[in-house]
């Protein structure tokens, strides 16, 4: 225990002496937490629309105005023909083409029926699908308000009327969804990278040899590396929560204790992961590459960007194998839904297993004698 105290003293001295790293540790989460959630907006807005109006009737103009007024679309061009409209898509100047056929108004009034053509640039799949369905919704709405429909409206018989409400995030605001996840990501980066690079740095400089020739026990050495970064991580986490509250007004609905218990266990798991990498690699460059490989997977498969539920089964397995997925899930539950300990303890168990396995493995794999 005495030895551990000397190790900790040394690590903290080194951390506080490296002003660049220290500044990064605090500036990075603050700045990124301010920038990322604002930029990472998945609401589809500013869908660029090219309109081909072959009818030039009052109805067609009404429809176009209605689309413009919805706030989601920006009419970039009124093209004379479908063919020219398509060139806007080819040049990426438009995402959608709406074609209003000739006789639109006449057919609507006389026949009570008319078809519209929507063409979508599907390169950006999300934007295309969502933009297309928005446009459809606007058209359906337009359809309902048509004088012929309102005038001849048959009394509704057994009509199902749907009203919905967004639970836990009433305005379905994206930032509430993203900010907690970005916070997890920052902890992941700091925890994973800092610890991965630290031991490897001692290997590069040669000081590890001096450590290996002392009677320091392996677990003492690993704990001596783990605890300082754990403390730093918890400080960063607190800072992140403060930024989330200050900038985005996000105040966790659930208990802080549950939140901190999870963050604490999660950090141990992640630091263990970093330490494990550093026991396998010999240079900071190698460690960086390996850490990057995993962090990429963590980021893209953790449910930060895409829902884990809609991944194919094999991908779900991978996603569930990363601790990040579990913490993102839990932090959203606690912050937005106010989930209590009873709701999330299976996830805590998962994280605890990760923590034990990764750190145990790191201690096992760290060799004082080669």
């Amino acid at each position: 225990m005495k030895v551990l105290r000397y190790l900790l003293k040394k690590e903290f001295r080194q951390i506080f002496r490296d002003k660049t790293i220290l500044a990064m540790m605090f500036a990075m989460p603050t700045i990124q937490l301010i920038i990322l959630p604002l930029a990472m907006n998945f609401d589809v807005k500013h869908v660029k629309l090219a309109v081909v109006d072959n009818d030039h009737s009052s109805y067609s103009r009404q429809l176009i105005n209605k689309i413009g007024a919805s706030g989601y679309f920006k009419t970039v061009a009124a093209a004379p023909s479908f063919r020219t409209a398509l060139t806007y898509i080819e040049k990426e100047q438009a995402d959608l083409v709406l074609e209003i056929p000739m006789g639109f108004e006449r057919n609507l009034v006389r026949e009570g029926e008319q078809k519209l053509g929507i063409s979508v640039d599907a390169i950006n799949g999300t934007k295309a699908a969502i933009g297309g369905s928005y446009l459809q919704a606007v058209v359906i709405d337009f359809n309902k308000q048509l004088p012929i429909n309102t005038a001849n409206a048959a009394p509704p018989s057994g009509l199902i009327n749907i009203t919905w409400s967004n639970w836990f995030n009433p305005l379905a605001e994206y930032r509430f969804y993203v900010v907690p996840a970005v916070l997890v990501l920052l902890l992941t980066l700091i925890g994973g990278f800092m610890s991965a690079l630290n031991i490897v740095r001692e290997k590069e400089v040669g000081t590890i040899e001096q450590i290996n020739v002392t009677p320091i026990q392996k677990w003492e050495f690993i704990l001596g590396k783990l605890i300082p970064f754990w403390v730093m991580g918890m400080i960063v986490f607190t800072l992140g929560l403060a930024v989330a509250w200050g900038i985005y007004g996000i105040w966790p609905v659930g208990s802080f204790i549950t939140l901190y218990v999870f963050a604490a266990v999660y950090l141990v798991a992640l630091l263990g992961f970093g330490l494990l990498i550093s026991t396998y690699t010999n240079s900071q460059l190698q460690a960086m590459f390996v850490a990057f490989f995993f962090v990429m997977i963590f980021m893209l498969m953790s449910g930060l960007f895409t829902s884990v539920d809609s991944m194919p089964p094999w991908a779900k397995v991978i996603a569930n194998l990363t601790p990040v997925t579990h913490f993102i899930k839990v932090i959203r539950m606690i912050v937005l839904k106010g989930s209590g300990f009873a709701d999330v303890y299976p996830e805590l168990l998962y994280l605890a297993i990760f923590a034990v396995v990764l750190n145990g493995w790191a201690i096992f794999n760290y060799r004082k004698t080669s």
Partner: protein
């Protein structure tokens, strides 16, 4: 019968089909200054790393301070000091912080660390620099400091791997004064070098060539045996046949 602190029998370290250390045998007596000479790549460092418990031997037997190099590496580590070829104190810690850290991990009591480190910096003439980062010190001072740290916990044996590489002659001389002082206090010194004038300072020396021990005796006896005026000549005769060169 003198007490033997290192006993080494047919010790071998093989990397693939390369014998870095090939069946070396020797004993080191308590309190002696034992020089380990050889060209670059002769296997000095590898042999030393095995004796320090940093590397597992492939075959052969060895005990250091009475402990087995296969099974009791951690017990060995409690009883030795080690100064590696590469300067390995923490450059971003101060002199006092380095002493405190290494003293602490070897279990020197805190009060004693304080008292002895004050004496140490005074003796080294580094009182003014005591709170400066080690990285800023000139090489010669770094080496003297590294040696002082290696023997701070008063080990039974200290292993020095080319401690004076790149150091000026005056500092080297002072360094050897420190070694003598440590030896006089009962610490056994195991030192590798390829400065032949330094070999003369040792009680006994071993000359390694291509992973094997080619000669082991006192400098005077070796010079007599090879009919040489100085150690340079002895070394040259033995190392001439070496097949390996360079690191």
């Amino acid at each position: 019968m003198e007490e033997k602190v290192i006993v080494c029998r047919e010790l071998t370290k093989r990397f693939g089909d390369f014998y870095a250390v090939n069946k070396i045998s020797f004993d080191v007596n308590k309190g002696e200054i034992f020089g380990f000479l050889g060209a670059n790549g002769a296997g000095k460092t590898t042999a030393m790393r095995i004796l320090c418990g940093l590397s597992h031997p492939t075959s052969g037997e060895a005990t250091v301070a009475g402990f087995n190099v296969y099974k009791q590496t951690e017990a060995i580590k409690k009883n030795i000091g080690y100064m590696s070829q590469k300067f390995s104190l923490y450059e971003n810690l101060t002199i006092l912080e380095n002493i405190e850290f290494f003293g602490g991990v070897y279990g020197v009591p805190a009060a004693e660390i304080k008292e002895r480190s004050d004496n140490l910096v005074r003796k080294l003439g580094l009182t003014a620099e005591a709170k400066k980062l080690v990285g800023a010190l000139p090489l010669g001072w770094k080496q003297k400091l590294a040696f002082s740290v290696a023997i701070f916990h008063q080990p039974r044996i200290v292993f020095l791997d080319e401690p004076t590489g790149g150091v000026d002659p005056v500092t080297r001389r002072q360094f050897w004064d420190m070694i003598y002082e440590a030896a006089a206090s009962g610490i056994t010194i195991f030192v590798t070098t390829h400065y032949m004038d330094e070999a003369e300072y040792c009680n006994r020396i071993t000359i390694m060539v291509d992973g094997k021990v080619e000669a082991l005796d006192s400098p005077a006896n070796l010079k007599a045996r090879f009919d040489a005026d100085n150690m340079d000549e002895v070394f040259y005769r033995l190392a001439r046949g070496a097949k390996r060169s360079g690191d």
